[in-house]
């Protein structure tokens, strides 16, 4: 991408640069379309509405988890506990399928546990000012360990992913519209509205841009951060519910392999890991790009090791091109 822009006259470079910086979604969508076209060429006839539905269905849990990373990264943080929390919520819900309160009770209890984990992380980050990376890392150990304990306790009661989660997670309407949009669309609308239209959203950007300035302007950053990490944990829990439904599995390590891609999706989507810049729209496209990329590498018939290498190399290349074009880090 950067090579192509070099050929423009000087005014053109500035225009392209501004486009990338202000509307990262446009070039990212272009990249997404290019990837889809390559898949269409590599395997003619595979790209159709049904295929798009399956891709979207695969991308939804990743996009929600990447939302957690986007929100925390806007304040200069990161949330490494999302995969442990997502797995825990999916797993605990599945083990409570035979309890009296049924599925609703399982979801309520597991999401409450997720919120508690987020509350503790938020206090660690907001009040005690410990680095978010390390607080959420420690929290992921705690959540994973407790989920394992719960697993040993509940082994005899039997478990299964509830039917309703399976329907939401893996069902397709008209063989092309994933049911999980019922969950995903409200999540997207809420996050976008929050970031663009509410004072709380402004505060997230303000704290990420310059926390001292935000605090001196009267923002109570510790309250903002506690709410943020509770919200992130709840979003992770929702992603876990969708993921367990989509894969029809409940395991304490279900979402582990999504942790690094969730960070990558937010970064590719144009959110700065240092805070203050970015948004959820780019992240969603980033999650779609990663999902389509994984599908492309599978379609090309590359063996697993090569897929991993290419996957990593492309993340670096996209991030580098983005940095080069916008001149920002």
């Amino acid at each position: 991408m950067s090579a192509a822009t070099q050929a423009y006259p000087r005014g053109g470079i500035a225009a392209v640069r501004n486009l990338f910086r202000d509307q990262p979604i446009l070039p990212l969508t272009g990249l997404l379309v290019i990837l889809v076209i390559i898949i269409g060429i590599a395997s003619p006839g595979i790209v159709n509405a049904g295929w798009a539905g399956v891709i979207l269905r695969t991308a939804v849990p990743l996009a929600i988890l990447a939302g957690c990373q986007t929100l925390t990264m806007l304040t200069g943080g990161i949330d490494l506990s999302v995969s442990a929390i997502a797995s825990m919520v999916g797993f605990v819900t599945a083990t409570m399928i035979h309890s009296e309160g049924g599925v609703a009770q399982g979801i309520a209890i597991s999401l409450a546990a997720a919120a508690l984990a987020g509350l503790i992380s938020g206090i660690g980050v907001g009040v005690f000012r410990v680095h978010p990376l390390i607080v959420t890392l420690g929290m992921s150990f705690v959540v994973l360990g407790l989920a394992n304990v719960w697993q040993l306790q509940s082994v005899q009661t039997g478990a299964g992913v509830p039917d309703i989660l399976r329907t939401i997670g893996s069902g397709l309407q008209f063989e092309m519209i994933p049911n999980s949009l019922i969950v995903f669309v409200p999540v997207v609308v809420l996050i976008l509205l929050m970031l663009r239209r509410t004072g709380y959203g402004r505060l997230l950007y303000a704290i990420g841009d310059n926390e001292t300035a935000a605090r001196l302007s009267g923002a109570r950053s510790w309250q903002v951060l506690i709410v943020l990490y509770v919200m992130s944990a709840l979003l992770a829990g929702i992603a876990g519910l969708v993921l367990s439904g989509a894969t029809n599995t409940a395991s304490v390590s279900l979402a582990d392999q999504l942790l690094l891609p969730s960070v990558a999706a937010a970064v590719i989507g144009g959110t700065s890991i240092f805070g203050g810049r970015g948004g959820y729209g780019g992240t969603i496209v980033g999650a779609l790009i990663l999902t389509v990329l994984a599908a492309l590498l599978t379609v090309l018939g590359l063996p697993e090791p090569t897929r991993q290498i290419v996957f990593g190399a492309i993340i670096v290349a996209v991030a580098a091109a983005y940095t080069r074009v916008t001149g920002e880090t």
Partner: protein, 334 residues
């Protein structure tokens, strides 16, 4: 976010002043050492048979993570972070195990040297990409963790291979006195031989300088880009030592990265290295690794569920840092 450097005591020449200065500068490490000794006594208390043999086992089991923690400490002191350490360890481990299988003992010496050079190379690639692309460290190394893990799988699809008997002998048993585990001596010697000259050299000072304040270091004439690459190369070198330790302690190489990346981050922060860069050393993280492992051993002796041990480690990590951060905040207020 992290506090400014600890106030340095008056530079008096009297020995008492020097000792108190040393104590203040290394308060965190000395505290960790105290905790470690307390833990050993506690372990002996709950399990009177805890003696030389379990201590040798402890040294063997912590060795890979000790190297991983040192690797992470160096790059974080330089103001970066490397999330590909676990993958680099997997790659170097499978390469060494594959090359050493059914080969002569002498050939294995060449393999070990080659693998250490490989560590320098892949660490240098990480650092070069960080410097050239100007993409944040965490993003580049995160992506490179896929790349190195992919290469590890290319080398060997499943765990296997072999290790030269002198290499496995290097980490097994005691050295002289039965209370001195071979693995601990080998690990410490490797770290001291590489780290001590480095940290006392101009290069080591430059690594601390760019981690503390990159702009100030640049204006003082430190070649920032080159120094960052060297820091990453050192991280690659210690990751390779970690990979060799994996091969030596297990006798095979596994292409699947262990939990070393995230554990190394936890260990260095517990060990007094600031994630903001420029502060800390490698000995705090080493003690922290041993403490974490010993807590797990103790909980096993107390027949606590091993999963609760994980919970305890996580809570300990958060609690210790909260306390450390509180102390920092109070000191700043005064």
């Amino acid at each position: 976010m992290s506090a400014a450097a600890a106030p340095v005591g008056a530079t008096r020449a009297d020995p008492a002043g020097a000792i108190s200065k040393f104590g203040r500068r290394n308060a965190w490490v000395l505290g960790l050492l105290g905790v470690l000794i307390g833990l050993f006594l506690f372990t002996k208390g709950i399990q009177p048979r805890y003696g030389p043999i379990p201590i040798q086992g402890l040294a063997v089991s912590v060795l890979p993570l000790v190297f991983a923690a040192v690797a992470q400490a160096i790059v974080v002191i330089g103001g970066g972070i490397d999330l590909s350490i676990g993958s680099m360890m997997a790659l170097t481990s499978v390469v060494s195990a594959t090359l050493m299988q059914d080969q002569s003992e002498a050939f294995a010496v060449g393999v070990v040297i080659g693998v250490l050079l490989l560590g320098l190379l892949i660490g240098g690639i990480n650092g070069g990409l960080v410097v050239v692309t100007r993409v944040p460290d965490i993003v580049v190394t995160l992506a490179m963790s896929f790349v190195w893990a992919g290469f590890a799988l290319l080398v060997r699809g499943a765990p296997g291979g072999g290790a030269a008997s002198w290499l496995t002998g290097l980490v097994r048993g005691p050295l002289g006195n039965e209370w001195i585990p071979m693995a601990a001596v080998v690990g410490l010697v490797a770290i001291v031989v590489i780290w001590m000259p480095l940290s006392r050299s101009r290069l080591g000072l430059s690594i601390y300088a760019i981690g503390s304040d990159r702009l100030a270091a640049f204006r003082s004439g430190v070649p920032v880009g080159r120094t960052r690459i060297v820091a990453y190369m050192m991280t690659g070198l210690f990751s390779a030592l970690g990979g060799l330790a994996l091969t030596a302690t297990t006798g095979i190489g596994s292409p699947v990265p262990g939990p070393y990346t995230l554990l190394s981050v936890a260990a260095i922060v517990l060990g007094g290295v600031s994630l903001a860069g420029g502060r800390g050393g490698v000995f705090g993280p080493i003690i922290a690794v041993v403490i974490l492992q010993l807590i797990q051993t103790d909980l096993t002796f107390l027949s606590v569920d091993s999963n609760l041990a994980l919970v305890a480690q996580g809570l300990l990590l958060i609690a210790v840092l909260m306390v450390g951060s509180l102390i920092d905040m109070r000191r700043n207020r005064q």
